[in-house]
Structures are given as C-alpha cells and as structure tokens.
C-alpha cells in the first residue's frame, strides 16, 4: 500500500520530468540538483517540530531517566550516584511485586472481557439495521466521560451496602459483595467498571465487521456453513487484523491503568483506605514514588521496569498473533 500511495518526488535529478516539476527556473541539471537540495531542506523543515519534540520530550528525557535510575534524584536536594541500589530495591520492595501482580490480574481479566463484550455489541449493532447509528452513539457516550468521573461512579454504584449494582443483584436474589472495600472484589469491580467505557473498541469492530465482503458470507452459506462456522471461518479471519490492533492497544492501556483507581482509592490520607492495597496498580505506585515521595531516581527505575514488561508482553502478543492474523493477499 505504501509504495502505491507514497508520493514520489524525483529520485534522480537528471530526469526531464523533474525539471518540469520544479518549475521553469530549473532547466539545467545543476539547477535541478540545487532544487532537490532545497526540497530536502524543506522536508526537514516540515518535520522539524517532531524531531525537536522527540529529542526534548522523549529520547533526551528517557536517556536522562536511565542515568537517574542510578541516582537518588529528588528534584530538590543534591543528587548522588547509588549504583544499582534502585534496581536492587525493585526486587526487595514488596509493593513492586504486589502492584505488578495487581496490574497483571487487571489486564488479564479486562482485555479479553472488553474485547469479547465489544465484539458482541458490534455484532448486535450490525443486525439492528438503520438504528445502528443511534445505538453506536449510546455505546460511545461513556468514552466521553472523564475517567475521574468514572472512578467516582465506581465508588457510588458499586458501593456494597447502598450501591445500585448490588440493589439490582438483589432483584435476582444475589447478595452482592462489598466491591469497593473487599480486597478480593476491588479488581473485578474495577474491571466491570472499565467495560462501561468499551465504546471506542465497539466502533472499531463495527467498522471492521461492516467492511467484510458480503459475498464471503453468501459463499459460506451456499457451502452449507452454519452461523457459527461462518463466524469462525469468515468473520474472525476477516477482522483478525483489527482484533490484533485492539489487543495490543487495550493491553498497553490496561497495564497503565491509573485514573479510576487513583480517584477512588488514593490521593489523600483519609481516602487511602485499607482496600487500596488491592487497587495499588503499577502506575499508581510509580506515581506515588515519583510525585508524592519525590523518589525520582527510584521511580525512574520503576518506569524502566514497566517499559520492559510492556515491551516483552507486546512482543509475545505480536509473535503469537502472527499465526492468527490474516492479511488480504497473504503472505507478508
């Protein structure tokens, strides 16, 4: 796709076409050469904002943070080299293991549930005809809700004694757990809450499902394929690229979950309740170390560990998915 769409400014400055494209002043090969040089400079001019931003806000700081992860930097006092002490502490600090575990549990619960839920909703949308647009809007609305408000809704609706969720469960004779205080139920509660904001994935799936060629289904039906078979052998392969994309994006986002949990359980001494241990996600802990205790050096080490964890998980997902993702005009 790239080679078809990518604009092709003249590769060789000698071609006659080049001279024409560059305007009347560039009749001779020499002038064309300088025009080409001007073009290259212009190109770098256009992308220079990103290059500056990359150096100043991404690459530079990341290098700096690598250096700082070997120090006791706190943004105030003087900085000392502490060698590998910060990294050693990663393994000794029980909060690291706990927050990492919390985060992994959250991601493992959330990602498949969110994808399955979104797929079911998207397929329902596909079958309701003209009203699909309206319902798509409805499903998307929670995405617009600020996460801090979602965190508050979690506290309110999932309240074990008076919350709406347990009230509704009561209709079915189920006595709901204390979602916001029982450390076993905090994570499932947050996962369920996060499913409310599944709308953007629904929209993506809906678009992907609509672009599956209809004749494939017709062919499958002619071959006597049932609903499940055509889902398994037509729908899934056709949208596998999209599924893969949402898998990666949702996993990276879940491993960095922060705002809802922080809103509900952290921030002030009084709200930091006993249940907050169960909601201590990795980025929450990273945030606390960096900006509450100002242990920036240690926080840098924490950030690098997170980077490594996310990188490894993403690579594994990419490798495994490779076998399942179907591309039009295979094999790449």
């Amino acid at each position: 796709m790239q080679s078809v769409l990518t604009p092709k400014p003249p590769r060789s400055s000698k071609s006659g076409r080049t001279a024409r494209a560059q305007g009347p002043a560039t009749g001779t090969p020499k002038a064309a050469g300088s025009a080409r040089r001007r073009e290259i400079w212009a190109a770098y001019g256009f992308i220079s904002p990103w290059i500056v931003g990359f150096v100043v806000f991404t690459a530079g700081p990341m290098l700096a943070s690598l250096v700082l992860s070997f120090t006791d930097y706190d943004a105030i006092g003087s900085t000392h080299n502490v060698g590998f002490a910060n990294y050693q502490q990663l393994f000794e600090d029980p909060q690291v293991a706990k927050s990492l575990m919390n985060t992994l549990i959250f991601a493992v619960l959330r990602v498949p549930l969110a994808m399955a839920f979104a797929l079911v909703l998207a397929m329902l949308l596909l079958k309701v005809g003209r009203t699909a647009g309206l319902f798509r809007t409805v499903f998307y609305l929670p995405v617009m809700t600020p996460p801090v408000a979602v965190g508050i809704l979690f506290l309110l609706l999932f309240n074990g004694n008076v919350g709406l969720i347990n009230h509704v469960l009561g209709f079915f004779g189920i006595e709901g757990p204390s979602w916001t205080t029982d450390s076993f139920w905090v994570k499932p509660g947050l996962v369920l809450t996060s499913l409310w904001s599944v709308g953007s994935t629904v929209v993506i799936y809906f678009a992907a499902l609509r672009s599956v060629p209809k004749d494939l289904y017709e062919a499958a039906e002619l071959d006597g394929a049932g609903r499940w078979t055509s889902f398994r052998h037509v729908t899934l392969p056709q949208i596998s690229g999209t599924l893969f994309f949402t898998l990666i994006v949702n996993t990276i986002a879940s491993l960095q979950t922060f705002t809802e949990a922080y809103t509900a359980f952290f921030g002030t001494a009084t709200t930091q309740s006993y249940s907050s241990d169960a909601a201590l996600f990795y980025v929450v802990y990273l945030f606390q170390q960096a900006f509450q205790y100002m242990h920036m050096g240690y926080a840098s080490a924490l950030a690098w560990l997170l980077f490594l964890v996310i990188l490894v998980i993403t690579i594994i997902q990419a490798k495994v998915s490779k076998r399942f993702v179907y591309y039009e005009g295979d094999q790449r």
Binding site: S65, L124, V138, F245
Partner: protein, 286 residues
Amino acid sequence: MTQLTMRPDTKEGTAKRALRVVGVLLASVVFLYPFVWLISASLKPSTDVFDNALIPHVVQWSNYQELWNALPLFTWIGNSVLVTLAAAVTVTVSSAIVAFGFAYFRFPGRDALFALVIGTMMLPAAVTMVPQYMVWNWLHLASSQVPLWAPNLFGSAFYIFLLRQFFLGLPRELFEAARVDGAGYWTLFWRIAAPLCRPALIVTFIFEVQASWTDLVRPLIYLRDPQLYTVPRGLKAVLDQFGDGGEMRWEIVCAASVVVTVPMIIAFFVCQRHFTQGIATTGSKG
C-alpha cells in the same frame, strides 16, 4: 449482513430480530443509566442520594448553588477551556505540518524517522512521565499549566500517523500543477493539502479536546495551586473534600461530576460523526 434475517423462515427471523433489538436496548440501558443516576443523584438531598429512585423525591437545585459557592468552579472551568484549546490547536497545527512533511517529500532517512514516529506511539506514557517532569522542572515550569499543552507544539505521533494517511490520499497532480505555477512548499501545505483534509483536521482537534479535557494525570503532577486546577483535578479535590472520609456530601460530588461530564457529552453530540469516523479509521489502518 442482512442475508441472515432475509431467510424464508420469516417467523423465526422476526423472533430473532426481536431478540436482538431487546439485547441492544438492554445494553443501551446499561450504558445510559449511570448518567441518569448521576444527574438524578446530583439533585437529591444528602439523605436520598443512594435511594436509587429515578426521579428525586425532592429536587434540590441548591446543590449546584452550594458547589458553586464552595469552590472556585468558574476559575477551574476557565482553566480547562484555555488549556484544552491551547492543547488542541497546537497539536492539530503541528501534527499536520509534520504529517505533510512525511507524506509529500522524499528525503534521506524518511522511512526510518517515520518508523520512529510509530515507535513512540507504542511507547507507554507512564514511562515518560518522570523524565518529562524533569524537563519542566529544569525549565522552572513544573508548577504551571504550561506542561499540560506545550508538548503539543511538537506534534503527537498518533495524529501525525492519522493525518499522513489522509495527505497520502490526495492526488499528486494537484501539487505538481501548483508547483508549475510557482507555489512554494508552504503554499502546497497551507492552501492545498490542509483545506482538502479539513475533516481529518477536525477529527484531530476534537480527539485532543476530549483527551485534554478529561486528563487527570498531568494536572495531578503539575498543578499544585488550586487556582490553577483544571476541572478533572478540581473534581478529585471535590471528592476528597466531600466524599468518603470527608463530609460525606455525595450529592455535591455528583453535581461536580455532572459539571465535568456535560461539556464532553455536548461536544460529542455536536461532532459525533467525526468521532466515529476518526475511530473507525484508526482501527482499520492500524
């Protein structure tokens, strides 16, 4: 996809169709009810917040009055509007410029640099949280609103990717004709490419409006002075003051949540076509 419902056995088809409609309606209730609940609770007296009644027994508009009096809400909304506009305008302009650079020109290192752009898109934001703070601290801007929008001056990988995709779709002849007429590169971008890609620019703008308006992380890091708070940061403060362990005035918390959420809901209804289009594009091209 209608072939399944157009089968001859219409009786079964109608039943299934009805079942699906019921399913979608049920899901809609799940998605919408929290909003209704929140608005309703924000109008109830303190004792009724958790009564789960759809319509408040007593409608108490004074909750909003009290919220307004107790907190510098107007200042927070003003801050949020300014920060959001600055963030959205800067990121749209800068990302478009960079995207055009990648789409129109061929230059040494282009593909490697673009791969780097994609690479930063995968870079977890939490990883750069601490290093970026150090930069702002070094610039003596770590306790201001500047870090909330200024990074957008340099474009954002995701939008660069999105906009480049649109620029690539423009016919090349358009630019070549303009070049023959003596147009400079900036003119190509500003007078031809940008106007033709207006829908994509709008998508970028409103995506960033949403991201910036709802963000809590950066305000938590950078805003210490309550006078500088944005609305989500303010809402967190409201929760800490009026929620659990605070005054237990949940109706005030609900009212504040409504105030934070409503502008986004309105924005969504005004430009929902762009939202759904933009998201669908990211999915299919990702």
